[in-house]
């Protein structure tokens, strides 16, 4: 029998909080280590102390230092940020739509961003990265609006099945259009990179521009986490508890847009991160989004950095598309979810 005076729920809440903190702190530490490890691997093996040297005593004439700072560091940082971004975007989507299958890939955001990018390449090939990223946002918004709008058109609103179907159809449509545009205007080769997905081409210019957006959005997500928790109980309940649901939904949508749009513009079309990680996070820390969102960020970053490592090292000197690697891991997990119907919100 329970000898302590605390009710069970309080104990569970405390242990969740501890787990969450553990994940966030230990995860971040693991992330730093992994990033460092990742920098040492690749077509050329670079020992750890060289990496340290490169970071703190940068020597322009040292090729190894150049590789570290110009090629690998931006990549690894981009992976971490993008992983966190996708994961948090997915967490927010799953929370606000109350749909455990929500994910920026399945909901058409990625395909939308990809479509916008194809238009970019075809019609405005000389755009600066700053403008490209804006295009990406617009595209993601377009895709999401299409999917959400169509899924909610009927009485009953956006049920999981309709969201998935609308998402699949819109993604297929926008993908076909992107391909069509790319083939017609002869930019297919340039687009190959985006369609396959990968951080290989990341450079400091991109990072400089993308970092503020993503970090800002992540911060915003953490601030909005409580609202997301409330929204995950349902619109009516949230309203009853005093939340302004319209404002909440709009803000959440904007944040998801920024996160997904920025990420796609860097890494191309990569789905499933936003699907898997939130489930994993919820498994460990429960359904309070104040814990889920930061945990998702850390776990997402870990996954992406790992995947990028794999993309680089599996088939040297060629890149294995990162989207495909994550798909390979993500799909069996997703199927397992579907089969077991373990769909905790």
């Amino acid at each position: 029998m329970n000898q302590t005076n605390e009710p069970q729920s309080q104990i569970r809440k405390k242990s969740r909080a501890w787990t969450a903190w553990f994940i966030i702190v230990a995860g971040s530490g693991l992330l730093a280590l992994l990033m460092a490890f990742s920098i040492t691997k690749g077509a050329a093996e670079i020992p750890l102390f060289s990496v340290w040297d490169a970071l703190f005593h940068f020597d322009e004439k040292n090729t190894q230092h150049l590789i570290v700072v110009d090629l690998r560091l931006p990549r690894v940082i981009a992976s971490a940020l993008v992983g966190a971004a996708f994961a948090v975007a997915g967490a927010i989507m799953q929370g606000t739509t109350r749909n455990p299958m929500a994910d920026s890939g399945l909901m058409g955001l990625n395909a939308g961003a990809g479509f916008a990018l194809s238009i970019c390449f075809a019609f405005f090939p000389d755009l600066v990265y700053m403008q490209i990223i804006l295009f990406s946002f617009l595209g993601a918004a377009f895709g999401a609006a299409l999917v959400g709008g169509i899924a909610s058109l009927r009485r009953g609103g956006a049920t999981p099945m309709r969201l998935v179907l609308a998402g699949a159809a819109v993604s297929a449509l926008l993908a076909a259009l992107s391909q069509g545009v790319a083939l017609y205007f002869g930019v297919a080769q340039d687009m190959m990179f985006w369609t396959a997905g990968g951080v290989a081409g990341s450079n400091w210019e991109q990072i400089r521009i993308m970092v503020p957006w993503i970090l800002g959005a992540l911060l915003g997500a953490i601030v909005l986490a409580r609202s997301v928790s409330l929204l995950s109980l349902g619109e009516d309940v949230a309203k009853g508890l005093g939340l302004n649901t319209t404002v909440g939904n709009v803000l959440c949508f904007l944040i998801v847009l920024i996160l997904a749009g920025a990420s796609v513009s860097v890494v191309g079309v990569v789905g499933f991160v936003g699907l898997i990680i939130p489930h994993l996070a919820r498994y460990f820390v429960g359904v309070d989004y104040r814990w889920v969102i930061p945990s998702s960020a850390v776990l997402g970053a870990l996954l992406m950095v790992l995947a990028d490592l794999g993309a680089r090292t599996l088939n040297p000197p060629f890149e294995t598309p990162i989207g495909a690697l994550i798909g390979l891991v993500g799909v069996p997990f997703f199927l397992y979810l579907v089969h077991k119907q373990r769909m905790a919100l």
Binding site: L106, R162, A196
Partner: protein
């Protein structure tokens, strides 16, 4: 009372007449599409010349264009359209889900993956006999269908529509990922072939493709048509079907196999084309109702018209190479599917 009986009889006769009219109408549309298709293309051939060439009076060049390029391509698009439409109709009937389609469910992806694996291990497509393509595709598609079926099936519940769609979408995404990973390893010529296939292109069609596809269709279509009543009865629900004496599980498996085989053989020849299996049955159902005896033939005709029209447009839109038909079908098909979804009862 007599009046009502008479009214009923007239109504039934009207419906029968309407159905015949629809069959004729669809056939006419198909012929029209055929004619238009024959007269469009990179080289402008005036209709009179086309007619002349058809009846043997053409120059060598005209013969080449018509008989070696256009005609086989048109025939392939018609056959593929019919096959894919039937495949979709059956899957919708079996899963009782009006929003199912072999492409969305990953069957195309499975066929494609097998083809890519073959290309990867056994070399460029010049060695790939057109006739082995359907078998490969069938093998890949069959395994995929089996996986989806096994995962979506739960003892006692059968296949719930939501689970089926989710499993299908996931398997499709997973196979696409796997395919992407493998595609990177291909050499250039192989890559072209695979990329073309993935987009759903009827580019390289010639009479060999027609010959490769025809036996499959000649085998499967009569089988499927003979199962019209079974499909009707399955549509009433498993329990009622059981009550009426249908061996539900066995029939369902047989029909699923036929559907997968149809989709795979078509896709082997034409590349990955989605949405036909989705739209054509819907259109057909709007026209003639749910009874498969008339639904299946109309469905096939609708699919044929759809794909051949899309192919014609695809050829014309971007001279000289045209864009892959699969893309065109997706561009036409997806919006219509979304419209259906917006209107649907789900």
């Amino acid at each position: 009372m007599m009046n009502q009986l008479q009214k009923n009889e007239t109504y039934k006769r009207k419906i029968a007449l309407r159905n015949t009219a629809i069959v004729v109408g669809c056939a006419v549309l198909l012929v029209l599409s055929f004619i238009i298709s024959m007269n469009t293309g990179y080289t402008k051939l005036p209709p009179s010349d086309t007619l002349r060439t058809l009846f043997g009076g053409g120059t060598a060049r005209e013969n080449l264009i018509l008989f070696d390029f256009r005609l086989p391509r048109i025939v392939v698009s018609i056959l593929v359209g019919a096959g894919l439409a039937l495949s979709g109709c059956i899957i919708q009937g079996i899963t009782k889900n009006a929003l199912a389609d072999p492409g969305l469910l990953g069957i195309n992806a499975g066929a494609g993956l097998m083809i890519i694996l073959y290309v990867l291990f056994f070399g460029a497509h010049s060695f790939l006999s057109v006739f082995t393509l359907p078998f490969l595709a069938l093998f890949g598609a069959g395994i995929t269908a089996g996986i989806i079926y096994a995962l979506a099936f739960k003892k006692g519940e059968g296949i719930a529509p939501l689970r089926l769609i989710l499993t299908g979408v996931a398997v499709q995404a997973g196979l696409s990922s796997l395919t992407t990973v493998l595609v990177v390893k291909l050499a250039d010529t192989q890559f072209d072939f695979v990329a073309t296939w993935q987009a759903g292109s009827i580019w390289a069609s010639n009479w060999k493709f027609v010959l490769a596809l025809l036996p499959w269709l000649l085998l499967l279509i009569p089988y499927v048509l003979s199962k019209s009543r079974v499909l009707d009865v399955l549509n009433l629900g498993d329990d009622v079907a059981h009550s009426l004496g249908a061996t539900v599980e066995r029939e369902r498996r047989g029909l699923l196999a036929a559907s997968v085989a149809l989709a795979a053989s078509c896709v082997a020849v034409s590349g990955s084309i989605s949405f036909v299996g989705l739209i054509a049955p819907h259109l057909a159902r709007q026209l003639v109702g749910p009874r498969h005896r008339i639904l299946l033939p109309i469905c096939a005709l609708t699919g044929a018209v759809l794909v051949s029209a899309a192919d014609t447009i695809a050829r014309v839109v971007a001279q000289p190479a045209g864009i892959p038909t699969g893309i065109m079908v997706a561009i036409i098909g997806a919006p219509y599917f979304l419209y259906l979804l917006a209107k649907s009862r789900y």
